[in-house]
Symmetry: C2
Subunit: 220 residues, 2 copies
């Protein structure tokens, strides 16, 4: 089912100092991210779908409605690119030209494989829920046979990938260093607010710890 995927040219031509193929770094970006962007081409047109995802070992787990036209295309083994980008800060330099962002960004190239066995599917969709909010699977009702049958579950191995990162201070040109201007970094991170309890929850029932103290680690 899987089409052969051409080798990707992954040479870091621009800012080679920002490029990496470190697998541990790639995993850490996946583990901190919540949304990935999945790109593929269909009839000459590139598409992007933002998706929640999970990680199982060296595989990214994606899922969606089995009836989805775009997901069918991915499930058919179309070449794709999955990108996860973490924005760590805005970099304010003395020249507009040297403005930048601090970020960690992963791009994985390949073709997805379908997960078809119901037990494996169950494990994979649980990995997605646990990725979004660790601890939730112990509470929430697991997916049943019918729900699993309606769900396409895909995996993409991290074989061809690149990680690009920028961190730290602005880097101004020598000639700009003496400009009497504030420069520096505005750090950014995803922040969880107070959980909003839904109307069906019993009055007085408090949100579980994983919801009331939700946070993503922010390794910079």
């Amino acid at each position: 089912m899987t089409q052969s995927v051409p080798p990707v040219d992954m040479k870091f031509r621009r800012h080679p100092e920002r490029g990496s193929t470190d697998l541990e770094l790639a995993h850490s970006v996946l583990d901190e991210g919540l949304v990935c962007h999945v790109a593929f081409e269909l009839e000459g047109q590139p598409y992007i779908i933002p998706m929640g995802y999970g990680r199982m070992g060296n595989k990214v787990i994606l899922h969606g409605a089995i009836a989805s036209r775009l997901l069918k295309h991915l499930a058919g083994g179309a070449p794709c690119c999955v990108s996860v980008t973490l924005l760590d800060g805005l970099v304010l330099a003395r020249s507009q030209f040297s403005h930048s962002m601090n970020f960690r960004s992963l791009a994985i190239y390949g073709a997805c494989e379908r997960i078809l066995d119901p037990e494996d599917k169950l494990t994979a969709v649980e990995a997605i829920v646990e990725h979004l909010i660790a601890g939730r699977c112990a509470d929430a009702r697991p997916s049943n046979r019918k729900e699993l049958a309606a769900t396409e579950v895909l995996s993409l191995e991290l074989e061809q990938f690149t990680v690009k990162c920028r961190s730290g201070e602005p880097i101004d040109k020598k000639v700009d260093e003496s400009l009497p201007l504030w420069a520096g970094v505005i750090p950014l991170r995803l922040q969880a607010g107070e959980p909003e309890t839904d109307e069906l929850t019993a009055p007085g029932q408090r949100p579980p710890e994983y919801a009331s103290h939700y946070h993503r680690f922010n390794r910079r």
Copy 2:
């Protein structure tokens, strides 16, 4: 230079209630986002590049090094998809299957046009800086002729686009509504920390207001 772009099938098949082609909504997603993901195909392989961007009226402004191989491809009028995704919250339902995310996501389909006139380029790169941090252009040194010549600046008109949004409470299946489980939403937003002043800034010089009180609006 611009290739003709095939009309994109933008029918909302899955969750049609989440789909929109409202231009004002599309602009608001662009205005709040900081990073877009740009997808295109090259030699049979889809690529994604995360980029900062700006908006000028109904156009998204992209830029990068003029020597970049991938940017050259975009500048050549390759069909592309530009996506901006704002994550507003995690939606914890009573079943794992009904877990979801609150989000606003824009996908624009088309082909970029090059901005070549130096005055227009200057205006466009300033729009990118101002998009990231309003007020900065009044302080930072503008780009000079040499810097502009080294920068490829592209625009993409919002003609073919879709916006998808989800907001509000979890939607559980009837049969799950009585499960004695906390359910609700964990709101998420991008939060700026204290500005980190760089080493070249004069001792005692305070960050400007736009850095010390940086925030993205969060219209949900």
